[in-house]
Symmetry: C2
Subunit: 381 residues, 2 copies
């Protein structure tokens, strides 16, 4: 029995063939686990991270993690695995191409959400997992969660997609492109063959991204038209010439600060890579034979109907990126799924912010669906 407690590891998969046909060799996969695998090897909770997240759930979803919480470390063997193309440990543009000894950079091959799921399945196999009790994830993590039972039918019992979509919308594709263009514009980007990060373009992309993750009203409540108490701190980033003669609002200085912080820890090629990955997300892709003569809605319904029943689908009512309507479609398509719309001022990022509500909803759901793991002594191995 494999078991890991609160442990971060990297496993190197000898080779892995991507959907695009490219074969990667010596593929590192970073992951982190909490809790212990039971003797039946089935008390497994897979957490799928969002775009700029990592395997470190304790860093970005920490208020859901721990005894008595949604990610209950005393009941589940919790695994979070870093996706392909992310700068946080799994193979990515930052990795060294064994055939050249150089970093892949912009030549890292395109990957899909399905590639992540197939690669991560190898890690679960390595850890001795026989079946997954629940897969949970928000935003891109929700896309990954939806793909798990589709890539491995029968392997996953329960599904909790949050603030996500069955297919990446034109809106999200458009935002990804606008953000990539901000990076391409940076002189330091050098077509992706940079030595140091194109931090200015990456920060600009992040700033637009951050706005889409929040709501208009949450910005208004937090910042309004308040002026920055320390405008000089951000002047260097705020343009030149008479641009400095303009007032500096906290709505600006906050974004400037967040953009710079992000650019110091992420990677531009990884940013570009993952936004493209999300663009490929469409659970109906190559799964519905044309011979069935289904229209788009029909094809989507046909695929959703094959997902494990009784899923818990979570929406944030103010989500302007993955609209509540998209989760409603998911919930209506999955047999006996339950849709819970969380009221939040935050917008899309509500799935990260509304911990108290999400803890209560998820724990209630898991107790109903996975009662066996909530019985006394369930963890006796």
């Amino acid at each position: 029995m494999a078991s890991v407690f609160g442990n971060k590891s990297t496993v190197v998969v000898p080779k892995f063939t991507l959907e695009c046909g490219f074969q990667l060799h010596s593929v590192p996969v970073a992951f982190k686990t909490w809790g212990m695998l039971n003797t039946r090897c089935n008390n497994v909770m897979v957490i799928c991270h969002p775009f700029t997240g990592s395997a470190d759930v304790d860093e970005w979803w920490e208020r859901l993690l721990g005894p008595g919480r949604a990610f209950d470390t005393t009941r589940f063997f919790i695994v979070c695995m870093n996706v392909l193309g992310s700068p946080y440990g799994t193979a990515s543009p930052l990795s060294f191409d064994p055939s050249t000894g150089m970093r892949y950079g912009p030549e890292f091959p395109p990957t899909t959400i399905r590639d992540d799921v197939r690669l991560h399945k190898l890690i679960l196999d390595y850890l001795g997992v026989r079946s997954v009790a629940v897969v949970i994830g928000g935003s891109m993590g929700g896309m990954t969660a939806l793909e798990w039972p589709l890539c491995f039918p029968g392997f996953v019992k329960c599904l909790i997609p949050m603030a996500t979509c069955a297919k990446h919308s034109a809106w999200c594709i458009g935002w990804g492109e606008a953000q990539r263009q901000a990076i391409y514009s940076d002189s330091a980007f050098e077509d992706g063959y940079y030595d140091s990060q194109p931090t200015s373009g990456l920060a600009a992309a992040r700033m637009a991204g951050l706005l889409t993750y929040r709501s208009r009203d949450s910005y208004e409540e937090r910042f309004g038209r308040m002026l920055s108490p320390h405008p000089q701190n951000n002047r260097a980033r705020a343009g030149r010439g008479n641009d400095r003669a303009h007032p500096m609002f906290t709505a600006q200085s906050y974004l400037l600060c967040q953009g710079a912080k992000f650019a110091a820890k992420f990677d531009a090629n990884c940013y570009i890579h993952i936004t493209h990955k999300m663009d490929t997300h469409d659970i109906t892709r190559d799964r519905v034979p044309e011979s069935l003569g289904l229209d788009e809605a029909g094809a989507l319904a046909a695929v959703l109907a094959t997902l494990p029943p009784n899923a818990l689908v979570l929406s944030i009512d103010t989500d302007g990126l993955c609209l509540p309507l998209e989760q409603k479609t998911i919930a209506e398509g999955i047999p006996d799924a339950e849709l819970v719309v969380i009221s939040s001022l935050t917008g899309h990022d509500g799935f990260l912010v509304e911990s108290e509500k999400i803890n209560a909803i998820v724990v209630g759901y898991l107790r109903r669906q996975l009662g066996e793991f909530y019985e006394d002594g369930a963890m006796v191995i």
Copy 2:
């Protein structure tokens, strides 16, 4: 009596002092007029253009212009004047600084919506206008419309602000900053002292802007996940390395195309300038003595109460930039104002797109409020 028919002109104002204290000399103001001024010099309709618009209403709001339409050229003397900082004819970063003989570029001084109104008033004076029957404008044009009667009390009879705000929100300030940062990142920007446009950064900024002007659902309906039939046309703009191995969606190629078109006709310093100008917009600024002890909402109500009564305030129900709530606040504050919420899939740009609905609503309103100009023989001069 001054009268101009379908005529584009530029008047040079000898000197003009801005709110920031800077005195501009030899200030060109581009404007266009339609129809004829009546003998009482009061059948005047002032149209205020949005951010990237110009005095050429016939180019960007053409379906509202003409006999029988909202902008009825047989009844009104219609004037549209280009704002300070715009590249379309009025003094801007593209203008030559008489003191140096060089273009102002990034050193063009900051301007406000109030500066535009005060400068434009000089043009109306020059044209012989004694009073304005109606001021109309959407988005930034709506901000200008609101400022007209505040800068010149008693001068404006009717007011039609659309898809706009009484003060620029934190949300809009944030979007402006994110877009400016995309421009600053472009190596060609050279701190604003460029010889040729930083087209890549300007296009990236425009792409983000365009998304905020539309709605998620309008993108979905128009593009969905359709692939571009001619991906090669946009490959050069779509990044390098393996980036080209990714699919090209029409949601991307549309934005790439629009971004490039815009960058070919606008100016980066002008873009930066006008976004800063909008950030200064707050009709309560310096108008409510602290001694009154009013809170923010109280101060806003106090200023709105001084606007001409019976205004027509238009909202687009899907507007994600200037929210319908913001126009509701305006309508509730202006005495006897009427709020009309237009149902549209478009989003913010609905004020430009929903011509048929807007024609009907505005003509009905003008006939009620300004019946004298709709009587037979009203145009006998």
